[in-house]
Amino acid sequence: MVGFWRTPRPRGTAPRVEPTGTVADDLERELRPAQARVTRALGAGIVALFWNGISWAILVSCYRDREWAGVAFLGLFALIGLVLLAAAVHQGLALANPRVSLRVRPGRLKRGATHRLTWHTEGAVHRLRRLRITLEGREAATYRRGTSTTTDRVTFACVELAELTALLELRQGETVFALPAFAVPGFQAANNRIEWVLRVQGEVPFWPDVDDEFGVEISGVDEEASPAERPAPPPEDMTRSADGALALRTEQGQVAFRPGATIIGAAGWSLPTPPRSAEVRLFWYTSGKGTRDVTVVASVPFAQPTSQEVQPFTLTLPTAPWSTDGRLVSVSWALELVVQPGERSVRRELVVSPDGRIVALPEPVPEPTGHASGCRKFLRSLAASSRKHGAGPASELPWSRKAALASAALPGNHEPWECRRDARTTGP
């Protein structure tokens, strides 16, 4: 099978997660939001200005010329422009929100370790009603075919680290946490990625909520698994091509490796004529909903290959990514011997993880809602304000307060953050 090498090699990058912020020292990292609020507000403002400028200018011109068909048509664009303007205003208002900075120690998260998260809020902290900090794991897969590009995203983990309401705690505090067992290092390739973020969501009554994300890295270096956890090597310590001309083996038939481990093996071939080239490649690739990414991390070319030969090789694995099974993205590792001409090859699949097993990610969770719609949020804020100030019987309230209470009583009007708390109580 030469499938990987017949398809165009995509523009895959080395696996990495975007680190944000500065590294104060090797043990602690200060995090900054992945996307600055100013950037969001500016972007929304420019789009709204551009859209409204053009659509309203043409609309007014049509109106003056009494071209009613044009007015009707452009009216739709003008309405969209108003929505964009509202969004830009929303983003602009969010600039005045309190700013939360995070520090995490150690700076690179690690399974089996205890981490300390410290937060500090600047600005009008008193306007915050509640602050919630979660660690979220996400898969993203982009499918590119022809002129079509679609990206799907799922959140497979939502770890609540803190939920705060007291003013002192909102201003600053710290907590300790450990990573879940399925936490794998993130990676980013051209079409697929797994990433981890610390998400800060703050409820601000009668104002856009705080919703900032901070990218974090999970280290691929892990505690050594106990020997009992490692699966037994397969019965065949050698993999042969279909015609038997090519063979690939690893020391003691090992196919499960820890991140960062060294792979020792041998590649052999028996051909009628000397190949033009022969090379062993170590690579990882993705499978799933997104277009496949293939990234070669190391290769060993064999100089002046003869027609029949057995050559040893040594390759070192990086610490990430790990062999993973997600809903949208799976990551696999393999060794491949490729000879030219003809792109003849033989591949030996590997598993790279701390315990020698593919790490299975949990089923995706519904996207946690960070923002209620503007109207519902406003009504909910009114209702909460009424309860706080000891509102009288509903009949004594002005119409707006009655409406707020009625709305708050409707089913489905739950708290804005729904990190699937009910999943624990409802169960399968």
Partner: protein, 212 residues
């Protein structure tokens, strides 16, 4: 819940959807991208012979036309592979999902294609602006041919018009499910409903099935 002060160590709440509610690992999903992309265009040997003959009759210049998800790129790729297999030189330019082909990228490609006798394949030609299109035509007027994919008729004579139907969708799904041994995973009526809800876009319909 109030962990705020230093030393407070409440156990983090990990919220996971309970297992057993469906879904399989991405690598085992029969509708994963690499399997979908490996689907062959249904044309038959006679159909291929006729298509190539028509391309010759159009002096090697024509457009594969069809709505989204109707197999234009699949046919485009297979036609290029067949011509290459027959010994003809072929050069491909992918639209690659971008809204507009960048001027730089188009320029590089045209420079490489200039003066060649190869048959040139351009995916997503209707994404080219008018100026870019005329640059392309000018640069490739001496090429061995120019085959494009487009959503609508125009710019080039129609070489082949792609269309989808529910029966084709069911056939493709059966092919994808064959290795699982569970070809009857969804009843035909449900497959037809999925196909209809996607407006005949087979690519989108297969992605819907992926999530199932």
């Amino acid at each position: 819940m109030n962990p705020g002060s230093a030393g407070g160590t409440p156990a983090p709440q990990v919220h996971e959807k309970p297992t057993g509610l469906g879904g399989c690992p991405a690598r085992e999903n029969p509708f994963r991208a690499e399997r979908v992309e490996a689907l062959r265009f249904r044309l038959g040997e006679r159909g291929w012979a006729e298509l190539i003959a028509r391309l010759e009759a159009l002096s090697g210049r024509g457009a594969i036309v069809g709505p989204r998800g109707s197999g234009k790129t699949t046919l485009w790729l297979e036609l290029a592979a067949r011509l290459r297999g027959a010994g003809r030189e072929v050069k491909l330019l992918w639209a690659d999902g971008s809204e507009r082909l960048s001027r730089e990228r188009l320029g590089l490609w045209l420079e490489a294609a200039r003066g060649t006798r190869a048959t040139l394949f351009v995916d997503g030609a209707d994404r080219l602006g008018l100026g870019q299109w005329w640059r392309l035509r000018l640069a490739t007027r001496r090429a061995g041919g120019l085959v494009t994919t487009q959503h609508r008729v125009g710019r080039r004579a129609t070489l082949y018009r792609c269309a989808t139907e529910a029966a084709l969708f069911r056939e493709l799904v059966a092919e994808l499910l064959a290795p699982t041994g569970n070809v009857a995973w969804l009843p035909s009526a449900e497959l037809d409903r999925v196909f209809g809800s996607c407006g005949g876009d087979i690519r989108r319909a297969l992605r819907v099935l992926y999530d199932r």
